[in-house]
Symmetry: C2
Subunit: 214 residues, 2 copies
Amino acid sequence: MKESPGVVDLLGVLAYAELSAYARMTEDAAVLAPSLGDRVALSELAVTEYAHFRLLRERLAELGADPAEAMSPFVKALDAWHAQTRPGDWLQALVKTYVGDGIAADFYREAARHLDPSIAKLVDDVLVDEGRSQFAVERVRAGIETEPAAGGRLALWARRLVGEALSQAQQVASARPELALLLVKSVGEGQADISRLFARLTEHHNKRMAAMGL
Amino acid sequence: MKESPGVVDLLGVLAYAELSAYARMTEDAAVLAPSLGDRVALSELAVTEYAHFRLLRERLAELGADPAEAMSPFVKALDAWHAQTRPGDWLQALVKTYVGDGIAADFYREAARHLDPSIAKLVDDVLVDEGRSQFAVERVRAGIETEPAAGGRLALWARRLVGEALSQAQQVASARPELALLLVKSVGEGQADISRLFARLTEHHNKRMAAMGL
């Protein structure tokens, strides 16, 4: 394989992220949606995540990697993230979908930036938003309008989502140095560049929070 | 609408059956699959059920029906069926997928038999097997080979699945007489015809049990 050594790791973690997001969103839709229409709307997004998983699995196979093997180093961390951020209600589920997937997508895109263009494009394609934001943003804004006290509660929830995500990401980075290296390479070696990366991620996160009215 | 009055009911119950099967199979795959490969294999089947749900939803909309309204009379019975037949392990999940979906499909096909051919074809299309049987049959047979005692336990499980399905079907039939009427029409009015229908359903069920080695 002529690919950078971190590529299989990147596609592996992303594949498992899509596979587990699909399962969790499906469950949240079935258990938490306040109506059949909402249930179907979130299920549509879940099934789209699965379609993205399929693309990643195919590319892993093309690279000569076993998809299950490529995913397995990341199962524990992603499962732990989901277990620690199980939504308690419908609005929490929507915020999780939007904020959680958003910050994860920012990380994956940064890691893919200096890779082979076909890999960077694949990563970009599977992270495409496809109306997920609009759906979550509209419902969450409407929810806060109906019940203004929900705003503060959801802002705290979003902070917890990010905290848990960073804590799991740190563990993955120390266990998979080649994957971590992709991120460092993408920003250059200097401390200033890493600070800029975090500033960029924070800015994107704050934009998402503002969009939801949080 | 020139359609028979039971058509929206039939497409509605089938749509919710596909939507709930998708959610349950997704959860069983995530929770019970013994490997990532098995998890993906069952998830593929779950996502196929969702694709079938989409076809039914489109047709309901074309008939001028609201899909959520068409599904809602059947939510309680199908949810009760799933709640009472929650698989305890991977082999139970596979038997449920094969036996439960199989007997339900037999009923839906009987009900659609004398409807407008485009409806009958749609029902047939969304009930197409697409390798589900092969997957479940192979894994269950292999499971029994590894652990012969599992056979008796799974045969009892299958009997319970059918018993619960018949009990829920009876409640649906008494609550939705137009849907029940489709089934009666398909076999003619006589008691002998209904006996033949049940003989046919039993025969199909026994074939599925034999295929799994139960």
